[in-house]
Assembly symmetry: C2
Homo-oligomer: 690 residues x 2
């Protein structure tokens, strides 16, 4: 770097990352920095479970987990700040974090959002102070992603004014529930509400399951899930119910009520919309997993980049061994992931903002709710996968040291593994996003006049259907092809935006057309099956399109933040980071751009060369860029990220230099042979001259 | 499937997979099926370490681990069979397997291959019966992949006729060594051999480190690595040496000897070649990790495919819920990995064959040794990465059930994680393969006459430099472009072979040219640095080229096996598997083929459509294809692979059917509303008619 090279103002970037809930984040980090909240590597499962429960009690006692609950009950009605603070707990111990998530984010939230005031008053105080630990009994072994089809029934008995909760077969056992094996005294149970012979769909019920002394309630069975791939501080287990009676009032009845005589009523007429509204109130889990995944990937990059910047391996032409991070391949492994972590962090902050707008009531519109669901369903899959991928690449980049528990990478990866399938399986969530995009696309043609739409679109270049729905380009592809002729033009935000937007739009249009064609002129009786088959044939592509859409949203979030920066050096470096992310997306999906004639083969090669240049530029600022993640040493807790390798390198270097200076450094046989060869050559020359 | 559809003969395929060392494999599987060798999920580290040591004793007592040692000492001189049997242990408990690998594959092998007869007689019997547990002290915290630069010294003292083993600084501590923390009583220590003021490079020394009672020898320090990301049954640790004296005879002197007076001699003159020859004798580790990785991915696929073939989620048009493996995305996730597992299994068998040829002495030629090293350095990275990737995809495809320890996927993944960086970091190994390809490429031009070479090449279509070196095409690219005009033509082995071969050859030619250009007309003083920079700039591409080469070798292995099959149905299905693997490689690397004008955009799209068709064809045989892996239930030990989900599904289905038949199945509000709507419509019609 020359002296005129741009410098990152670490504090500016750190503040941008801390975002709107900076105070809550810093407060939570400070609390989580205390040793009593930290993972003990290798702690046996039973002890870890006891510790996690006691950690939860300490969190509750510290008032660290009540922010989202009503002020009237001792909370703060602060939904965004609550999730922000929660996300920071992941680096203390993910078991503690997720057990807290079960207690307050799922069990407590379900009572809050699906229950009514009586329920709040009756149960929330005990939920908040942990005197009532609970489970969230939604998933069944036979029904994971498809919650609407759960087998558990809640049949109303007007004589007794009770519901009977029942598990009719083994596939309907509630499964994988935190707090179910040991600590839960109640559960919010999702079951088919049946009254007067009619099934009104899945509703939530408050069911006491265990005495404070640990005895199961009559008719309720529990089994322990035992050891898992991670999160072993949580007592996951199964629950089943044999004709268990609960009072009518235990139905969490915000979205559906049963009168004493068994009459059902709901403020939402359509059973489908009612179900999705209920499920939608639980979006908080996805939002907080997204932010937690970002924090974990930031930790992974901090560890691998600091270590890679100190560790040396193989002697170079300069005589000294080369720093790992100066190797082209090492840079290729870490720099694009660093850029990605930035994009995901800013996208996550946007998601949290929409979440807060909806749940605080500040902007609780249908459109905003839909946006929130789309964004959560889109970001959570990509960030949780990226966390696993980044933790793994970091672990490998640190070699054997990366495999040691004390360097954190393997433990975090094991614990976060389940993030990609819980709170919505990632593939199922992306399919949801894809379906939303198909709907947005179809909405354009509601009036049936394609040409009119095209004219309208052309006049609204860059306009969007909604904040996070399908984007549309008002420009013809030919124009785009013209524009992106040179590599320079690909560096502009406009070109990146348009290429990324165009890809999503075109993919969705192609899928829509394939689906339409499949059922065209098909007899009615066969239409459903044909439609299903056609959708199935397009499923992989739809998930790819959804992914592309989410990447565009991440790119937008990063671009927006970069544009806000005013410090020139910081802005320059962050623009390279943005370009690396954006062009990296183009590079990774180049086959599509080539096949669709959007980028020429020549430009594709130039793009890869330019990505290489961006990677080496970003490498020079990599340590600053991970410093800006601002992870306190107490939360990072990785020996190799403390400068220990630089110390060892300095000691070894000093030792060799001292030996050399003292003349006690043994000559290597190789040098000896080279000298002998040179001498022999000189002698031969000499002899020839004589 | 119609009745005329091809069927896989499972036994035929199973036999092809068992290969040459069928007897050893089956024997090892039978032994490993015993419960005493199986992982206990969640067992605390200390107990697991004790158990692993006792398992090793039982393996030794059963005569299960001595096959590679000399017949004269009670072994069988059976190198291939030894590795084959070893590979099968991975599904019992990877900790036990790798601890056995440390004892017999590294510690024992080093004495066998680097020592001479006196050493064998003196130490091997105790190594073989485990009365002498040992460590393999090669890696240092400061030098992992770069073994030639280790800091530990072995300085010869002619007065005492002893070597002094010394750790000069912290970076030279031996690190991550199995058996070092607790059980090792000796170690083979790799150190710079210094005699008469000259450093003759790294040699191996036998160093007692601990009494049988567990006390450290004077001058030797040990620290425990503690908890790791996996393999916690192994007592990994650090060792350091402070002026430790060992007799001159403890130098393992097959490739370098020191006389009593300090005179050094070696049968290999070049210090570089000597070093690589010594290291080369330890290739067994890579070979056996490759085969073990294949076994783990086969287990993962068996579990995920059996479960995916039973589990149902979301109702379909038929009325019943859809089997997961019938979803397009689920097939996309698992079928290409199934094809890959086949290719890797057959490639692994080829590697083992060459290994056996070299080590049995049956075909111990320089060329065969070089081939062995290339193949091991190439296959081990791809298979160990594929194992992690497949285990993870399988774990996700099984949802929450995949996260339960009892279903094996997370435990195997955690244990196998380190396979990708030990016994040679995967990226470093692929770079080795890449360098070999560059050398093969340069060898073509040794006579300086490119045109002559091109003519020669043209006359030997499909010829190879060596069995596993750079392949060459004797055909112009233009011809190739002609040939692969249609999707049909891409289905032939010839087209697949040529496209895959062409890619490697062209990439290597491009890299070679870039490297040549970088130092052309550069002053001598700058040449080394410029060369280093240029290589660094090409490093990523070189690793990609090496990967492409290894994939071609895998493809060749699979194709060869498919061609051997005589049963028509089996051959048909296995040809689809081969095509899926081959065309999958083309699809994954399509950008390259498009940019280089080898495949047109239109053909690329047709190819993806055809891959989709292959996937759905292979899906129909997926259960047979995993049955052919032949993993006994005792080794698989995954609850979800036992048919338990099919039982649950049957029970649930029967329950619903019985309720329906009895008329006690409650009608859903949705149906009720639909009925009401239909009735209202009919009434309106009726009213209008009246």
């Amino acid at each position: 770097m020359t002296t005129s090279a741009p410098r990152v103002n670490v504090q500016l970037v750190a503040d941008a990352l801390l975002g709107k809930w900076k105070a809550e984040r810093l407060e939570s980090r400070a609390l989580a920095s205390d040793e009593r909240f930290h993972t003990i590597h290798g702690q046996p499962m039973d002890e870890h479970r006891i510790r996690a429960l006691s950690q939860l009690q300490q969190l509750a006692d510290a008032g660290a987990v009540q922010r989202a609950f009503p002020s009237s009950l001792g909370g703060n009605d602060n939904h965004g700040g609550n999730v922000a603070a929660f996300e920071e707990l992941v680096l203390a111990d993910p078991s503690m974090q997720i057990k807290a998530g079960v207690q307050w984010g799922l069990f407590g939230s379900a009572i809050l959002h699906l229950g009514t005031e009586e329920h709040h008053k009756k149960w929330l105080p005990a939920v908040m102070d942990l005197s009532l630990p609970g489970a969230f009994a939604m998933t069944e072994i036979g029904h994971g992603s498809d919650v609407a089809s759960v087998g558990t029934t809640a049949t109303y008995d007007p004589e007794a004014e009770e519901f009977e909760i029942h598990t009719p077969f083994k596939g309907a056992w509630k499964e994988f529930l935190g707090n179910a094996a040991l600590h839960g005294q109640a559960a919010v149970v999702f079951a088919q509400l049946i009254t007067k012979g009619v099934n009104h769909g899945v509703h939530a019920f408050f069911v006491p399951i265990r005495t404070p002394g640990g005895e199961m309630m009559p008719g309720i069975g529990s089994e322990d899930d035992g050891v898992k791939g991670g999160l072993n501080g949580i007592d996951n287990g199964r629950l089943h119910f044999t004709h268990v009676r609960i009072p009518r009032e235990n139905l969490l009845n915000r979205y559906g009520n049963v009168e004493a005589d068994g009459t059902y009523s709901s403020p939402i007429e359509s059973p489908g919309r009612r179900f999705f509204t209920m499920i939608g109130t639980l979006v908080q889990g996805r939002v907080s997993l997204d932010g937690s995944a970002v924090r974990a990937m930031q930790a992974a990059l901090t560890i691998a980049i600091r270590y890679g910047n100190e560790r040396r391996q193989f002697p170079g032409a300069s005589g000294r061994e080369i720093v790992l991070l100066d190797y082209g391949q090492h840079q290729r492994r870490l720099m694009p992931r660093l850029a990605q972590a930035y994009a995901m962090a800013f996208a996550s902050e946007r998601l949290l903002t929409v979440f807060d707008e909806v749940f605080s009531g500040a902007k609780d519109t249908d459109e905003n709710r839909e946006d929130l669901e789309t964004l959560a369903a889109g970001l959570k899959p990509l960030s949780t996968w990226a966390a696993l991928d980044t933790l793994q690449e970091a672990r490998e980049a640190c070699g054997g040291a990366g495999f040691m528990a004390k360097n954190r990478l393997t433990g975090l990866r094991a614990d976060l593994d389940i993030y990609v399938t819980f709170e919505g399986d990632n593939n199922v969530l992306l399919q949801l996003v894809g379906k939303r995009l198909l709907t947005d696309y179809a909405d354009q043609f509601k009036d049936g006049d394609k040409a009119a739409y095209a004219r309208a679109a052309a006049s609204q270049l860059g306009d969007r259907v909604s904040r996070f729905g399908l984007r549309q380009l008002g420009q013809s592809i030919a124009d785009l092809g013209q524009m992106a002729r040179s590599i320079e033009s690909l560096r502009t935000s406009e070109a990146q935006r348009e290429l990324l937007t165009d890809r999503v739009e075109t993919m969705i249009a192609e899928i829509a057309s394939a689906l339409r064609d499949a059922t065209k002129d098909v007899p009615k009786a066969e239409r459903a099956q044909r439609g299903e088959d056609a959708f199935n044939a397009q499923q992989h592509k739809l998930i790819q399109a959804a992914t592309a859409h989410v990447e565009l949203l991440q790119w937008e979030a990063l671009t927006e933040e970069v544009e806000k920066l005013t410090d020139a050096g910081t802005k320059q470096v962050m623009t390279w980071v943005r370009d690396l992310f954006g062009l990296g997306l183009l590079e990774r999906n180049m086959t599509w751009f080539l096949v669709h004639g959007r980028i020429s083969g020549q430009r594709a090669e130039a793009l890869t060369a330019y990505v290489d240049r961006l990677i080496s530029r970003v490498r020079d600022h990599a340590v600053d860029l991970v410093d800006a993640f601002g992870i306190p040493a107490e939360l990072l807790r990785a020996e190799i990220a403390t400068g220990i390798e630089a110390e060892r390198q300095a000691e070894a270097h000093a030792y060799v230099e001292a030996q050399r200076a003292a003349g006690t450094w043994p000559i290597h046989e190789k040098e000896l042979r080279a000298q002998a060869k040179a001498e022999a050559k000189a002698e031969t020359k000499d002899a020839a001259r004589r």
